[in-house]
Symmetry: C2
Amino acid sequence: MSKGAHTRSAILDAALAQASEAGFESLTIGVLAARTGLSKSGLFAHFGSREDLQVAAIEAAAARFTAAVFVPALQMRRGLPRLRALFDLWLDWTARSGLEHGCPMLAAAVEFDDRPGPVRDAVADHYARLERELARAVRFAVDERHLRIDLDPAQFAFELLGCVFSYHHSVRLTRRPNALAQARAAFERLVADASPAH
Amino acid sequence: MSKGAHTRSAILDAALAQASEAGFESLTIGVLAARTGLSKSGLFAHFGSREDLQVAAIEAAAARFTAAVFVPALQMRRGLPRLRALFDLWLDWTARSGLEHGCPMLAAAVEFDDRPGPVRDAVADHYARLERELARAVRFAVDERHLRIDLDPAQFAFELLGCVFSYHHSVRLTRRPNALAQARAAFERLVADASPAH
DNA sequence: TGACAAAAAGCACGATCGTTCGTATTATTT
DNA sequence: AAATAATACGAACGATCGTGCTTTTTGTCA
């Protein structure tokens, strides 16, 4: 790897750590320069603009998410086992990726909700992809007869997303010690209702 | 109402509109001065600092939330009817409160997750209060025998929160047209599982 | 090792940030 | 109407924002 590519990825490392603890709006040239030890102009040269940097950070986060959640989940058998793995890996993917605080992707999703532009597009793209893959994993579970044949995969994905969001909220804001147990219980109820009639 | 109190509330109106569309980090003295037609210093004098302004905005949002969700829901009978009303009122409370974009409270929750300080405290306080009231409404429904006697109210609240979060995400970011239907379906499944054994 | 390209730094710019202070303009009350 | 208090303004501050330009340092390869 060339020197440039190396520092560029070091910058994105710092960017994700920063976004994890203070959101994407805190991704400023000066702050990242201080975090990486580079000069402002030296850092700036790696990206054409702050917006490009933010987009690059989103894409880096998406790549890490895929590597930390989807890739290991693919080693599980299709169907319910893989679905369970997806959920479990999702809940703590940030910690396993070296991020000490919240999920940068979730932060970006809320921050750029209503702000049109390339950053919003990148975030929306990630979630569209994620939800599509999620629905696909649900369809596999249906095909394997692990879940009801008349199950709506999009609805399942919607509610699974709800579990993750509520878990994140419960852990990071209200700091409830039983957040994980509640998330798992919600997941089990979701699976139970989606199971084939006995 | 005195002149000062009147403009102060006008500032908070502008602050919530701004936070709804671009997050709490965008609540800057200059932007709000421009939105209200005041001078920077004139606006600043109403709050001792930017942080105090942000806290005041959180409290204003909490007051509006209560007025738009809890107050009207209290007019319904205790139990499931009131619980349904809470959910329905919650989903579109921002629109009914004159906010054209996302929920400022949810934005603040994610933005200040990992940033200790009075703003985070105010947000966490609102959600703690909200979830406590939610659990109380669930207990009423249990008392009325509308819901199972062995239901865990905190777990119910956790999953209800998940419905709301996922709905917000689906409406604002991914812009799915069937978000409302999915949220209602998730709620119905939640209620069905919490209903007394037939 | 020397030539060339890539990367980082240095410096400066206009704009905006939160904040302070002194002054002018209003409301309110006597 | 005069006196007093409440409100708003204008100007300025040091800091930081994103972004150019030029120079210096560093890495790469013949």
